[in-house]
Symmetry: C2
DNA sequence: CTACATGCAAAGGGTTTGCACGACA
DNA sequence: TGTCGTGCAAACCCTTTGCATGTAG
């Protein structure tokens, strides 16, 4: 929590109680809540908070790398007709997604802790980073 | 393509040229297009096609497990303040996402083919299947 | 004090739906 | 020929934005 305050201050961003409550709420949650859910929960403590403050704060926290999205970079839905086992390299900057193949990744040993959660039908590895194009662009 | 026709017929679904073109287009694409992009491309061959037919066909193809989404199950955006390395178990039926930890998965050896695509900063494994709740529900 | 954050309400944009017409089987 | 699929346009819903007010630093 102190780390949170420091980071906000050092980033030149104001420390409001809305921001603190929203961050706490997402931290506390283990169910990967959506914006609406965060909003409802935070409203128990700050009844006057608005949904758009939740959104604005969430994007702020993402810029500060304090939280992430479960989904791919903020985008519309994208589709894939490649139904053979494959994996994804995702560029964090431009959002491009490249398929790649790896027998090693196709056959990962499923941890016992996961077997208790349910049955696994598909294994997919996601590697995130900077694609070579975006790397060049940042250097140049 | 014959497999496609068979599957549609066996599913009691009509084989229209719109459906064929949309499936072909998603098959052919290697860039994980969104609905709008598929729409634009298919329109070159069927100028009168409409965007909502693209959407309806895409959901149909997903039900037939002929294509997938890059994203998590059709949903709103969800957030995660767990910034320590972790992985996800996703239930294909109810959409619940459970975190789990695995040092093996944290330290996967990156294939050389990926190193040529760009630099990897984060490795995350996604295991999809049926959670124990949904398994029970289907059996019961 | 002053710039930045918030709340409200309205706009935006991707996706879905109702309905009448058209086309596969 | 009957049923299902399509196109159109409007509805829907999540998310974003503009603006006046409030507040942290």
């Amino acid at each position: 929590m102190n780390r949170f305050k420091d980071l906000l201050t050092r980033s030149g961003v104001k420390l409001t109680h809305q921001r603190m409550e929203i961050y706490c709420e997402v931290m506390r949650a283990s169910d990967h809540p959506d914006a609406e859910t965060v909003y409802k929960r935070v409203r128990k403590r700050i009844p006057t908070i608005s949904l758009d403050t939740v959104y604005r704060t969430i994007w702020l926290l993402m810029d500060l790398v304090l939280i992430t999205t479960l989904d791919y970079p903020r985008e519309r839905m994208r589709f894939d007709a490649n139904m053979t086992p494959h994996h994804h390299f995702i560029c964090a900057s431009c959002g491009i997604v490249r398929d790649f193949y790896s027998e090693q990744f196709d056959n990962l040993k499923i941890p016992d802790t996961v077997k208790m959660l349910g049955s696994v039908e598909r294994t997919q590895v996601e590697l995130r980073g900077l694609c070579s194009n975006c790397t060049k662009r940042k250097v140049g």
